[in-house]
């Protein structure tokens, strides 16, 4: 039996935008995990990764299995329609039964895809900070649900989780050493919750890898 969230994604959300869910050709990409710690990463064949290879570390310390839904993949099903418009966060995590918690999770890794100097960012070019970008992804994703109905208000705990993994640096090299020195203060905000709530009273949590988020 599908969870309430899967029900929403297959029925309420598409219907709101005049779309039909076709069970034979459409799929909500998801994986399920029992109690315990696991790591997830976007853009991979599997959602759940082996230890050390994830970006977001989740500790399912509840008594119920959790499902991790690839929300970006889900929204992309409706590409070129109103249902598929706008930005979306990477994953949604919730229990397979019940409404104890729902977690919208945006993952960020450092940008490795910089291109050659002649096309590199010019001085003064506007570049949104990673934190601001992630918050926006999360808020827009949350608002997609509320544009349909108040289903998310059934959940006791509503969380917008920003998970970040910093570039691995080579052990030697002056630039690597310099970056590691700059990164030291980041331990201060590696496992924090914001005082200011996001829209619809979602709590914003931040984790720098490999700090875990406990679902309960």
């Amino acid at each position: 039996m599908d969870s309430a969230l899967i029900d929403f994604l297959k029925k309420d959300y598409p219907a709101h935008f005049g779309q039909e869910w076709k069970e034979d050709t459409m799929q909500v990409r998801r994986e399920q995990r029992p109690k315990g710690k696991f790591e997830i990463r976007d853009g991979q064949l599997q959602i759940v990764q082996y230890t050390g290879n994830g970006v977001s570390v989740i500790n399912n310390n509840s008594e119920t299995d959790v499902e991790i839904i690839d929300f970006e993949h889900y929204i992309n099903i409706f590409r070129d329609t109103d249902a598929g418009m706008g930005r979306k966060c990477d994953f949604i995590i919730n229990p397979i039964a019940g409404y104890d918690f729902i977690i919208f999770n945006e993952l960020t890794e450092s940008e490795k895809q910089y291109i050659m100097p002649f096309t590199s960012p010019k001085t003064g070019e506007e570049k949104e900070g990673k934190l601001a970008y992630a918050k926006k992804q999360l808020e827009i994703s949350i608002e997609k649900f509320y544009s349909v109905n108040n289903f998310l208000d059934d959940y006791e705990k509503k969380v917008a989780l920003f998970s970040c993994r910093l570039t691995d640096t080579r052990p030697n090299g002056i630039m690597s050493k310099s970056l590691r020195a700059f990164r030291k203060p980041q331990k201060i905000f590696a496992n924090i919750r914001a005082h200011e709530l996001l829209i619809h009273d979602f709590v914003f949590e931040q984790r720098i890898y490999d700090n875990e988020y406990k679902v309960c």
């Binding site: 506007e126 601001a132 700059f182 980041q186 905000f189 005082h195």
Partner: protein, 389 residues
Amino acid sequence: MKESIIIKNLGPLKEVEIRDIKPLTVFIGKSASGKSTIMKIIVLMRYIYKMINIRSYLKNAKITRSPFKLRFNSLLQDGLESMITVETEIYYTVEINGNQYTLSYTNKTLQSDINIPNNDLVFFKESYISETRSVIPTWASKVATLKGASLGFFFHETFNDFNNATDVIKEQQLDYLNLKMKVQKSGNKPKQFMIESLQEGTKPVELRYASSGIQTSAPLVTIVRYFAKEFSFKDAFKRSVLDYLYKQDRLEKFTPQINQSDLEKYVHIHIEEAELSLDPEAQRALISNLIDEAFHKNNEDRKLGLMIATHSPYIVNHLNVLLRAGYFEKARENYPFLEKDNIAVYRVHEGTLTSLMATDNETEEYVINTYDMSDTMERIFDEYESMEE
């Protein structure tokens, strides 16, 4: 006392709300994001509120004709007027003793018809320390020859505060640079500001010839110390109220129900770019110095508020040190610590504010989320690494 402000549709600001302006409030954000604009509007509204308090004080003391006419538009200086449209809204509220007093600006009109009862009166002093303060040393040396010249309203406000401060303060320590400044005045010549090392045997240098970091920071620390300790509310009251009544021959009618010494006193200092021209360690030491002066060494008759706009990751990260120091007894002895409920840090972005205050989930200590301030360094590293690909 609690202050709050809402600003809508003003220049780069779409919708900004601060529900509780903390004693230390810091704004970070890209250039032209609106950090200084927020501060200028807040200082403006606080100034108007101050004048309303004086007007109410006089009215409560049977002086019904107020010397002060509040013309909002005339107070919009240094480009602020061009940011105002008919859609601009500003609401500034002070909550005191359970009562709320709101100044509102809508449809290009200020609603300020408030009378405040004696129990709720406060005495505000506002200071704005402009980023153009580096010109002060040169300006001070040539002030006689520059009559009629102007470097903008906020520069002159800063200059006047520095001038008043150095009428009283003859020696100012610049510990964060291991220096001190001495003020010398003879006859009708302009004041001279001499910078000396704290160590013996080095020749003093005039402030206007000193390094840029000294020229920008010496006026700043002097003004903050002045308002934290030396500024006389009694003299300010005399200038604002008593001298006017004397000139208008209305002193006899003046029957105050409350003494100015009984009014709660607040000094608000608004600082643009505290870090100007200072190396990272000096920035840290400067911020410690300012917080020490404002919150630990201040005269007990007044409460201070500091509002700072900054680009510096060193300053904001250093605030985490001072915030953490507040949690540990030994650290409180060694640092100008910050109380956790007395600080707010905001990022100004796309016309709105986001609070960066958070709680560490393990220690339950308050922290400032400075994650964004490391973006640039990460990008530098990524670009450097990508050269090989």
